[in-house]
């Protein structure tokens, strides 16, 4: 589960991790109203106004409606006129920007060409930046431990740094029984070239963050850039946080931060029924049991010349109702020109799938070809249910056979 930048910074602040002063705004008036408090508290007439969406690359991204406008804007209108006159000028500029940004669609390298609508803005104090650094905590799968990664190449994409200048990335594994030790935090801060106050502040920042990660069950925390200010403070200028969805049961406060408008509606609907569903661009709907088989079904469809419309794993313990819900979600996609049901029953029984599919077709109708391949537990019973239903179903003897049939019936490639 992902959260917005402003929510990440709220969490950081809760742990005593330094962040700039800022306020979230869901309307133009709220954005304008945020300015005075921020400027007075920070003593700096410069503010930054940032689009809040669940995607990176916002600074370089551009709005569909305003081709010149990026997702992160520094407002310097108040610099000339001192604090009091400055607030007025800053407020006016923030009003103009907020009007353009709110409700508009931001396209970044991570949103895809369709972009994402901006419904929230974050207004933040301007920071006098001395240096920009990179810091993240992620799972190192080979070590089965979390790892702190730091780099002096702040503001850059870490994958690019890893590719081009891997020596710039320093790492420390976190022992779960001990947490990040002080010497490790110090080593990271030295590796970042921090000295004096900045070294002290940086070590403390890193250690606090490493402990917070364990407590919060995050999947990934990325602070890019982590900045050193002219006064030697170390601060999170950005914050990208996602959580381990397996651990959300013990974090109701984090679940409350979920912004469903950032997620695909069909995927949210599917998760209500315990289905694992991901929308794709093709035209062959897939209903499969098991994540590996569901992925392999997509691969096979592609291989025989088609394009999958979705990933869908009904799971092992799905009921007839869940299968019906899955079928409805697939058929609600107007791009779907054919459906392939591919089941290898282990825990999942073929008759449950068959009953679910028959019930769904009775409720929502069937306007596209349907190919069903059943194998495994109670396969004979499942086939009998399909045969006796009178539905127009093509059966397949195996996975590739089924994929070929559905791609042909759906009229070839998407």
């Amino acid at each position: 589960m992902k959260i917005h930048e402003y929510q990440a910074k709220e969490l950081f602040a809760r742990y005593g991790i330094a962040v700039p002063i800022g306020r979230v705004a869901q309307s133009v008036d709220e954005a304008v109203a945020a300015v005075r408090g921020i400027v007075e508290e920070s003593g700096n007439p410069v503010v930054v106004i940032k689009a809040q969406i669940h995607a990176g690359g916002r600074g370089k991204g551009r709005f569909k409606e305003h081709a010149q406008l990026g997702g992160v804007n520094v407002v310097t209108a108040g610099i000339e006129s001192g604090i009091e006159g400055g607030v007025k000028a800053t407020e006016e500029r923030v009003r103009e920007l907020a009007k353009q940004m709110l409700g508009s669609t931001l396209v970044t390298v991570q949103t895809g060409p369709e972009g994402k609508q901006v419904n929230r803005l974050y207004v933040e104090q301007g920071i006098d930046i001395e240096r920009e650094l990179y810091l993240s905590v992620v799972l190192d799968r080979s070590a089965s431990r979390n790892v702190v990664m730091a780099s002096t190449a702040g503001g850059m994409d870490i994958e690019q740094v890893a590719e081009e200048t891997p020596e710039k990335i320093i790492r420390q594994l976190i022992d779960p029984a001990i947490g990040l030790a002080d010497f490790q935090a110090r080593a990271l801060a030295f590796g970042l070239g921090l000295k004096g106050d900045a070294h002290r502040n940086g070590s403390r920042f890193i250690k606090t963050l490493a402990n917070a990660v364990v407590e919060l069950d995050t999947d990934m925390v990325e602070i890019n850039p982590l900045v050193v200010t002219k006064s030697g403070q170390v601060m999170a200028l950005d914050g990208k946080v996602s959580f381990d969805s397996n651990a959300l049961f013990r974090h109701p406060d984090i679940v409350a931060m979920r912004d469903l408008s950032e997620e695909n509606a069909a995927e949210v609907e599917a998760s209500r029924f315990g289905l694992s569903f991901i929308k794709l661009d093709g035209n062959i709907g897939c209903l499969v049991n098991g994540a590996g088989l569901a992925m392999a079904t997509m691969d096979t469809i592609k291989q025989v010349g088609g394009q999958p419309a979705n990933f869908l794993d009904v799971g092992g313990g799905a009921s007839e109702e869940n299968v019906t819900a899955a079928f409805k979600i697939i058929t609600s996609d107007p791009n779907v020109k054919g459906i392939f049901v591919n089941i290898f029953g282990g825990i999942m029984k073929c008759d449950t799938i068959a009953n679910g599919v028959v019930a769904a077709v009775k409720q929502v109708g069937l306007e596209v070809p349907l190919v069903v391949r059943l194998e495994g537990t109670n396969v004979a019973l499942g086939k009998k249910i399909i045969d006796e239903s009178g539905l127009n179903v093509v059966s397949a003897s195996g996975m590739r056979d089924g994929a070929r049939k559905i791609v042909e019936l759906a009229g070839g490639a998407a």
Binding site: G292, L293, M295, F344
Partner: protein, 310 residues
């Protein structure tokens, strides 16, 4: 004994909810020696399992079974009373890590965790706890393992297995079934099918199981089923290149998976451009592994790997 399990496996069950009961019944029907259940607070009670024996399971048994499985408060009590040497865990996710650690504390050799949805940090702690202990953990989020006609632990459908000469190791449950069935249909059969699970932090990885198959005289070839996410397949490929003395065939699921999306399994995600199917397939092919194009070709790929090896 096949690898990991066999006729002398004495199994405990931790977590006898609906799923645990259902699959324990199937395991007993298959002929697995289930010697006890760990049910904190219900020590001294017992649970009855009765039904028709699974004809595809351990041979030479009666057509029906009717057994009382004794319950124990702790794993240690159960081990002392029954001599159990393996345990299977169906405990719900919030409590599963604790169940694994309890089993390791009691010195059980083989711990098979079926549970899906254990928090990653819990598994990080479990892995730390297991360091220096004799227990081997398989899973979590796995279908278990089956040595055909000897022992079945977990949720794999028993009847698709046939005793034979191929070892199977897989990150995916249902793809394991595809592979096993094709190996049964083409006559190769299996020595053991091991599901290592789809989580990013697991107890046993590909290399661990490949080592076991490499040293097992009955295993003549190996089928390895991987998927996108992480680097376990690449690490296995590097190991195979140097160490493997038997033909290996493989399949990698997720060629069409979009980056940054979790494909059902917690560990199946391409992040930062890493963990793609293409990279894994290339690494395996460079190690001399025959990689199947689709899951319909798993059995054929093992035959081809054997042919090329000869």
């Amino acid at each position: 004994m096949s690898v990991l399990v066999g006729r002398d496996t004495r199994l405990l069950v931790q977590g006898l909810g609906d799923a645990g009961k259902f699959h324990t019944d199937k395991a007993i029907a298959y002929g697995t020696e289930v010697v006890g259940a760990v049910r904190p607070g219900k020590g001294g009670e017992s649970v009855r399992f009765a039904g028709d024996a699974d004809a595809s399971g351990v041979p030479g048994r009666q057509n029906r079974y009717d057994v009382e499985v004794p319950s124990f408060n702790t794993v240690r009590d159960a081990v002392e009373a029954t001599g159990a040497n393996a345990t299977v865990i169906y405990v719900p996710p919030p409590f599963a890590a604790d169940a694994i650690m309890e089993a390791a504390h009691a010195g059980i050799e083989l711990i098979v965790a079926i549970t899906e949805g254990i928090p990653i940090m819990d598994m990080v702690r479990v892995k730390r706890y297991l360091q220096g202990k004799a227990s081997r953990l398989i899973g979590p989020n796995c279908p278990g393992l089956t040595a055909p006609q000897e022992c079945k632990i977990g949720i794999m459908p028993g009847y698709i297995h046939k005793p034979g000469k191929a070892g199977v190791v897989s990150r995916s449950g249902t793809l394991t079934y595809e592979g096993v069935k094709q190996l049964s249909d083409n006559g190769l059969g299996q020595t053991c099918a091991v599901g290592i699970g789809g989580d990013p932090v697991n107890g046993t990885n590909f290399i661990d199981v490949l080592e076991l198959f490499n040293d097992d005289v009955a295993t003549e070839a190996v089928l390895m089923i991987g998927e996108i996410g992480g680097a376990a397949e690449e690490e296995a490929a590097a190991w195979i290149k140097v160490n493997m003395r038997k033909p290996v065939a493989a399949f990698i699921a997720g060629t069409t998976a979009p980056p940054g999306k979790r494909m059902g399994h917690a560990g199946a995600i391409i992040s930062g451009g890493k963990g793609t199917a293409e990279e894994k397939i290339a690494a395996l092919e460079a190690a001399g592994v025959i990689v199947a194009q689709t899951p319909s070709d798993l059995g054929a790929a093992v035959l081809e790997a054997i042919d090329r090896w000869a």
